[in-house]
Amino acid sequence: MSKILVLAEHDKGTVKKLTLNTLLFARQLAQKTGGSVDIAVLGHGVGPVAEALRGFGAGTIHVADHADLAYPLAGPYAKVLADLAKSTGAKVVAATASSLGKDVLPRVAARLGAGMASDVVALVDTKEGTAYRRPVWAGSLLADVVIDSPVHVVSVRSSAFDAAEAVGGASPVQAFAAQPDLAKARVRFVKFDGVQSTRPDLAEASVVVAGGRGLKPEKGGFGVIEPLADLLGGAIGASRAAVDDGYCPNDYQIGQTGKVVAPQLYFAIAISGAVQHLAGMKNSKVIVAINTREDEPIFKVADYGLVADAFVAVPELVEKLKAIKS
């Protein structure tokens, strides 16, 4: 029986939804390998997080509660997660390929002598056993990789897996005596400047309205797409060019080097559709593109394309959507 240990992510005492996608990945893997799934909760004052996860069918929820884990610094976090993996005999350690997962997991792999597969989107059966499928070259190709070390470390691309449903029951919660050794880590948390938003989280939203460099501030900028996002309860995203030019926060960037999303409905507004942008959104269910130039690559992936000036078409779209909604 091989055990899979999933790192839960949380924010202000609540489990991040993306953790549930990673849990589904773990369930699929457990089914293939005949293993079981445990959950690791690291942090300070994280009792409620563990409690909220009890209905998801985990064998055990391990809680490492320590003042030195109050802020997720890679060194101490990796040490505790690796110690936990060792003490529970976990064969696979998995986490969401979020900025936290990407920061911490390779260090866990180094501590465990494990090979790591990043951004896994599927499990595939091969002659050499279960392989992890992962996009490479900005998603132009898919590589199926096998890991030869006894322990595997995997970061999971959440947009490729649905959220795991609760299954009932009450997993036992067990305290783990964490030794983060923060004092030895030579790193100090200084501050966090969060982006304030009342909209849903980009990676979790079912509608994403993304703007590009065509949304020039002097013409109204991202202000033109906000009413559309508000109307549809969507999140706002952006191309790298829009972020680089300061139209919106960094955290909005979608693509190879930003967030990867796959909502039910994606609007690409004044975005040309460079491969690096497509890497972050081309698996959306329905894609709508609005662009003044008809020959842009974005129209090759769009389900519905409209050649129009965004500053004219988007306000009209908002009015007409309101009309059919009322």
Partner: protein, 251 residues
């Protein structure tokens, strides 16, 4: 101070990629460029060296002989002092072997800062910096968008989910560059001329006393993702609304 910085060669992301006959990598006449994140790392190293007198900068490339050209043109011509090429076959090694090579190099060169890119845009792994930091027992700051030295600490602003984080590291440490860290400079003509005479050491993996050079991750198959079905162009906003409502049923 001494900074070790990466100069990795990658195939041009805009070129057409063909899967190799054994199905495990790519082949054909691909154009190469310097990994964009390495350009940011190199620029950061040069700016730190300019701000702190007596800093030595050393660029590292791991790959075949062709990699030397990218160390010279991408790093030395821009102002990096010297280069090291470690010969390896990139089609068979993984991020972990690269990290162990860097570990060996750091034990030899003893830099104060190892500056890498946050990811290589071919394998898109985003692992090497974190792995080598753990192997060396050094602190790390990944996804850096601002780097500043204050006393014996390096203050790094990081691009993370939900905002910007600032952490302080004590040297020696590992930093991985994000794209917004800086605007990489162009090499000047004088720089290109000078680069020809700058030292560039060539090493084999065996020169580095690594515990092992076996990869842990192997590609067993490559494939092309299924493309999207062609969509339709609509003429008006009304038509778009109609399709979204009755055909896609998403509004």
């Amino acid at each position: 101070m001494k900074i070790l910085v990466s100069a990795k060669r990658v195939s041009d992301p805009n070129a057409r990629l063909n899967i190799s006959r054994d199905g495990k990598w790519i082949e054909g006449d691909v154009e190469y460029i310097l990994n964009p994140f390495c350009e940011n790392a190199i620029e950061c190293a040069l700016q730190l060296a300019e701000a702190h007198d007596g800093t030595e900068t050393v660029a590292v490339g791991i790959g075949d002989d062709e990699t030397a050209r990218f160390i010279r043109q991408g790093a030395l011509a821009r102002g990096v002092d010297r280069g090291i090429l470690v010969e390896a076959d990139e089609a068979v090694i993984d991020s972990d072997v690269i990290a162990r090579i860097y570990q060996g190099l750091c034990e030899r060169e003893r830099p104060d800062i190892l500056l890498l890119g946050k990811q290589a845009i071919d394998g898109d792994s985003n692992q090497v910096g974190q792995l080598v930091a753990e192997y060396l027992g050094w602190p790390q700051a990944t996804f850096a968008s601002k780097v500043e030295i204050q006393g014996d600490e390096v203050i790094v602003q990081r691009e993370v989910d939900g905002g910007l984080e600032t952490i302080a590291l004590t040297m020696p440490c590992v930093i991985t560059a994000d794209l917004r860290l800086n605007e990489p400079r162009y090499a000047s003509l004088a720089g290109i001329m000078k680069a020809k005479k700058k030292p560039l050491d060539e090493l084999e993996m065996d020169d580095l006393d690594l515990d092992s050079t076996d990869p842990k991750v192997r590609v067993v198959a490559m494939s092309t993702p299924a493309g999207r079905k062609a969509g339709v162009m609509v003429k008006t906003v009304d038509e778009l609304v109609h399709k979204l409502k009755t055909e896609a049923r998403v509004v």
